[in-house]
Symmetry: C3
Subunit: 350 residues, 3 copies
């Protein structure tokens, strides 16, 4: 279990320690974990980011808290004052992440082609397969049973978790993390139809991924047909996401789980796509668009803002009645129009 | 091919054999498989669970049938009488399941860390990787190319199919089956945003799974942020399911394919979630809730019952008209209100 | 990089070369790639399939183009005239697909059971596991870390990409391609409930797949309960698709990404299922059905045509108002009926 003194944590964040209302500054206090204000125990550090949790601050058992300036005076324990306690908490959390593997080791059961080039301090797990022509930057980790296809290039400090498949010729930037059983660079879904038979269009493009990208598990990002599929930098992608061929995703986007993005869609910068959304092929989203959960996007979006589709959940008995009415909606609208006509003619005739 | 005498099957189920209307009791008859009343052949056993299949009973070619007491008199062949023929059928089906591997063997191409502890009779397939500190209970099977991360614990009689990834520190109970390419314990999707940059929140919780849990293929269950993601006992989870960080699922739930459950959602006991449903983050479902196919759950459910959302399929031409009206629905409702006002004023004026 | 003379490409397609308006026929010209009319460079071949791109033909930098007879006179460069330029383009694209592996090699780090039978020229990658009784037809490729379960049979010229899992007893035809991390033959989701406990129904059927089938990544096709799950020939299946037990899919179907097909559904021949559609269990679709994106199919379809469900995306503020009205739709319909009654009685009374 990693542990750090409060002073070490403050230094890591570039913050200073302040006394709490019931405790002096204790720079040498050992901190061995993080917790919420409610759950943290002695020896742990907590945070107050959202004012609605303020009520838990006076009684917290945490040994220290990350707080905004306006909450510092309320803390019973040592505090670290910052404008963004949630970001500070995120930074600290990484310090306590257990190391999964011995670093800078090549497991004897890995299969590494003699034409692959591995940077300094690269770790390769058991059963991992690195094909010919692959280049992997320094400090990157390729975990057990992952496969890196011919001529693919990974930057430095990447982390490829177990059982990932990266196809040939894929280009991945620095500090990219790819979770297990995700597939990058498989063929896009492209076929021509000749009299009922599907003729495969070889997918000759590739996938290009920027820096500081996070990709969840069981996700897939397909290679392009002629051009490439492109993911910007600072993009976070959850699990069970499908990104089809020739999609382009701008910088800083967040894409939640179970979402599908069809071929050649373009997503601007800093878009937020909630879970189980689906974006049709060849659609463009401008920068700063938010798509809510389960929304189906079938036309371009040219103005930033929040967009939705679907209907709200209700008891099934209630839903059945309404959903049948939905099937009659055009008729209902015409009946309203008819009533309006009659009312108008009635008024005229009066 | 396994085969058993009718008497052995009766003993396995704790039932007695009864004569059919056209056949004496034949305890020594060999049974080598199962089939439906329509498809079963001689030497196979069938079942009648749902009365709507009763019409097939008189002409079945099965050598024996599992029936409810009220159907026993209708069976032409030897029958085993039970209140729940479908459950009896399920139990028998397991007897005929072919064994996939030689049990209690460690394949020489497996990579097992010397600090891992394997119980008696554990089977490990080729290419499987068992990291340091792992404990695996007796009789469990880890199939080819699966990876069990550092310090994870599996109970007895578990079956991990090929290419599964279980991350570090995961806790799995007894008799849990996990199908191929499923991922348990990958990082939850947690990030803080600092001026457009995503700062990863290390996911320091884990995943805890109870006993007798069945998990399909290409599913993922993410580890918790600070606390754990928890799956109860006797839970069945289908394929392509996403269960996000800090979700809690009670005992006895069934979750069908393509469903997504977002972060910190709580599902009570004995809930049934149909396919392609999506449950928003931080939502609670009480015990005994049924969610129908493709439903989007965006608020708490506090009463047991059946809940739905969405619209019904119809011919596209018809749908296009109705769906445009849906976009005008608030206006339509206002026009109805206006007509009502006019009608009321008309009545008054009359 | 592969390259071919124009004459070789023409011969491959069975077409003849025609002069362009600004260039003579150059049968010896080397072609090293493909591109769109806009993006192609000298030394590449392009195509004009859709008249809306005709405007790019006069200025294309491609060295040759595939065109329909009516466009031949417009081409500045050498052209190959064909009724279906898109199909011709698809055929050529396959020539330029880089070979991922050295063919006809068995990697020393593969685990192949001595009872498996591999045809002539079969390639097996590092870490791949071929279990007992498996038969693989000539020229097939099993890539790294894929697992082929006991007694499964693959035809000739199949390509199994890395980290695929094929369970025991699965039957796959000729020229079938399966992309990474896909699972074929895992247990269907079948359980009987006995007083709140789920009793597993062993899935004793298998999966049978025809010829020339393409399957994307992270897809799963479950084995049948008693009978088999059956996929016809010339079927194309995208990524993140779930096909449940006992589903039957006819020939020539296309199934796009994120789609779920529940147990025992029957899909006719030449159906097109768009992305993120869901088809309920035991549903039948006749031949020639098209299902649009995100549609939920909950009843049989007996007439070919296009079918849809769902609602259109709109700005969230607008959607919120309409979606609340949807919850009142049955009441709104009753209010229209009431207005009509009043109007009718008014007419009568007049």
């Amino acid at each position: 279990m990693q542990s750090f003194t409060l002073q070490q944590l403050a230094d890591h964040l570039g913050l200073t320690l302040s006394a709490g209302s019931e405790a002096p500054v204790q720079p040498e206090l050992m901190i061995s974990g993080l917790g919420t204000l409610e759950s943290a125990e002695s020896g742990e550090i907590s945070f107050l980011a959202n004012s609605s949790y303020q009520k838990y601050l006076p009684d917290t058992k945490a040994s220290a808290v990350l707080v905004k300036p306006e909450h510092a005076c309320l803390s019973p324990v040592t505090c670290l004052v910052t404008d963004n306690p949630y970001v500070a908490f995120a930074r600290l959390s990484q310090l306590f992440d257990p190391v999964r593997m011995e670093r800078a080791q090549i497991h004897p059961a890995a299969s590494i082609h003699h034409d692959a080039v591995l940077g300094e301090g690269v770790t390769v797990g058991a059963g991992a397969v690195i094909e010919a022509g692959v280049m992997i930057g320094k400090g990157s980790v390729i975990e057990a049973n992952s496969v890196i296809g011919k001529d693919s290039v990974l930057g430095h400090d990447c982390h490829i978790f177990p059982n990932v498949t990266i196809y040939h010729g894929v280009s991945i930037g620095n500090s990219v993390r790819v979770h297990s059983n995700t597939v990058i660079g498989a063929d896009g879904f492209g076929f021509a139809n000749e009299k009922g038979k599907w003729i495969r269009i070889a997918q000759l493009g590739s996938v290009i991924i920027g820096d500081f990208v996070e990709i969840g598990s069981n996700t897939n990002i397909d290679r392009g047909a002629l051009d490439d599929t492109v993911i910007g930098s600072q993009v976070i992608i959850d699990s069970q996401v499908q990104i089809a061929h020739n999609v382009r995703i701008g910088d800083g986007c967040a894409i939640a789980g179970c979402t599908g993005i069809a071929g050649s869609a373009r997503i601007g910068n800093y878009c937020m796509i909630a879970g189980a959304a689906n974006i049709a092929g060849h659609i463009s989203l401008c920068d700063g668009v938010t798509i809510t959960m389960c929304t189906s996007v079938t036309k371009d979006i040219t103005e930033p803002g929040i967009y939705s589709s679907g209907t709200l959940m209700m008891p099934n008995r209630h839903w059945r009645k309404n959903v049948i009415r939905f099937s009659q909606l055009d008729q209902l609208a015409k009946r309203i129009r008819q009533l309006e006509k009659e009312a108008a003619s009635h008024k005229t005739s009066r």
